[in-house]
């Protein structure tokens, strides 16, 4: 959407974050070259094998990385809105907690933690209140989706009480 394309006029310093993006793109290209180079020997009579298209993609990514450096040096990247990282860390933490507790504790507890962490990220910090709500809600969801719709959602100690 329209974020405005006007770099502030007095600061035409190189855009460090954009340079990091360029390094990321070049790294991605390097990774593709490195992985698919072992496939380069395989060619069919069409002249292009499994490595051809990845090579093209990696080459274009290198070009895009160079273009990004060029725009970064000219300060052509749009101004960014200020980000508050506290909420972001809450949500990422919630996703990580869900990922790690899913197998041992089951769907309801793991996802209940995510639910509470997300609510905390958006300002509801009363975890003693949001975690139980999240777990009960997720248990309800589990009963509907795993019970009725037969989706394979991991069960833990809590789910085994019901099923």
């Amino acid at each position: 959407m329209s974020k405005g394309n006007t770099p502030s006029t007095q600061t035409r310093r190189p855009d460090r974050a954009a340079l990091v993006i360029a390094v990321f793109l070049a790294g991605l290209a390097g990774l593709i070259f490195w992985d698919t180079s072992r496939l380069a020997k395989i060619t069919s009579y069409s002249g292009i094998g499994p490595a051809t298209i990845p090579f093209v993609i990696a080459s274009v990514l290198l070009l895009l990385a160079a273009w990004t450096v060029f725009e970064a040096l000219r300060g052509d990247f749009p101004a960014r809105e200020r980000q508050e990282f506290g909420p972001v860390i809450w949500i990422i933490g919630g996703l990580a907690a869900q990922m790690l507790t899913l197998k041992p504790l089951g769907f309801s507890i793991a996802t209940g933690l995510l639910f509470a962490a997300t609510a905390a990220g958006f300002g509801k910090r009363k975890l003693w209140f949001t975690i139980p709500i999240g777990i009960v809600l997720c248990l309800g969801v589990w009963l509907v989706f795993a019970g009725l719709l037969q989706l394979s959602l991991p069960a833990g100690p809590l789910e085994h009480l019901f099923w």
Binding site: T36, L39, I57, L64, R80, I91, L95, G134
Partner: protein
Amino acid sequence: MTTFDFLMQGMLVAAQPMNLFYALIGVTLGTAVGVLPGIGPALTVALLLPVTYRLDPGGSLIMFAGIYYGGMYGGSTTSILLNTPGESASIVTALEGNKMARKGRGGPALATAAIGSFVAGLIATLGLAFIAPFVVKLALVFGPREYFALMVLAFVTVSSAFGDSTLRGLTSLFIGFALAIIGIDQLTGQARMSFGIPDLLDGIEVTTLAVAMFAIGESLYIAAQGDQGPDKVEAVKGSVWMTGQDWARSWKAWLRGTAIGFPIGAMPAGGAEIGTFLSYAAEKRLSKHPEEFGHGAIEGVAGPEAANNASAAGTLVPLLTLGLPTTATAAIMLAGFQQYGLQPGPLLFATNPQLVWGLIASLLIANFMLLVLNLPLVGLWVKLLTIPKPWLYAGILLFATLGTIGANPSVFELGMLLAFGVLGYAMRIFGYPIAPVVVGLILGPLAEQQLRRALAISQGDVTVLFTSPVAAVLLVIAAAALIVPLILRARGRGQVLSQLAANED
């Protein structure tokens, strides 16, 4: 048999109670996600893919299409009452619609949006039914090289023709391509970019990527904006019925919006947004009350709303007849077809006419359902807007991860979800569009396949790509769509294009 006979047969399929039920679920869910800011039809279809895995293909696809249509209807409600577009195709509606609501004319604004959407949806769906057989006949003469050229054109229009930067659009597209290489090569069986990890041999799931980028990336971005106080929802005051004058000013705008939106949706030209902007501009120019524009002109709601629904129907033309998705939602619907082993395209019309025509006919029925859902029941949807953000986004992430866990309950899959979510968030911060990544991931492998087939036929001669007139013309248009915006932006005329940015749906 004529198109009319096929459509009648489709009606019989669509009128089966189970299919009516699926359509009703689809349009209800679609309206709900359209109303809620932050989630769109693309995400909802992605979430439902794993859930519907065991259901009947016809029914699920009817539900997905219902979600798409419903999303287009519901978005207008949010735009008008909250001044925050519920989905990207409703940005223009917010311009005039919210002004009308502030003047206490929210009722007529909602009515003209809903009836306009209905008129446009009806005409455009009939358009789809009558045009599809012709495109199918045309598509039968398409060989691999023509398909490849068509896909190149779609890549260019989705990624770089609109939006505010060619560089960032192309970067998004190629990130999608890079992710698409992961997994086993379909022609030689070689593992590419899998680094010995068995989870990667099957490639990246489209649903995982779409859910991560749209749900998690979006939630992170909204959360990072901090607390900006509660949004102000305009109450619907007065009658929802339109006066005689409202009708007189609306009906032409509906028809013009349909005429603009449908062809734009049908061409591989990106999202529904473009049609809405063109329709708004046309209405502003043709209106007898130009002074009202910017202060709540009803034509400015009627036209763009009709255009966005018409282009949603238009998008289904290339999707069903060519298997070519031109929006993120269509790309995920394509994944829905593939989940059942169906490949949309000319063959599907021959091998599975029941399914295709049932789907098209059910869209006609869905339109009637949506009119009922959105006019008398609009008060119910407005209630959705009052859900506090913490609960809303906590719920969105609950269901987002539910879909992924349901498809593949592994720690690795959730790790990818988290990683792509952070990637999507970073891309949002720096103004990279998300849709090209999704389209690149799903269409990239198909394009590679067509290219390699074309070159296998020609025994490696690359010039064959340009010697077919159809392919050559398509590639020339693609090149123009890449270069012309580049020049426009370099000469400082990029504003118009950045407003046409296809961001999500």
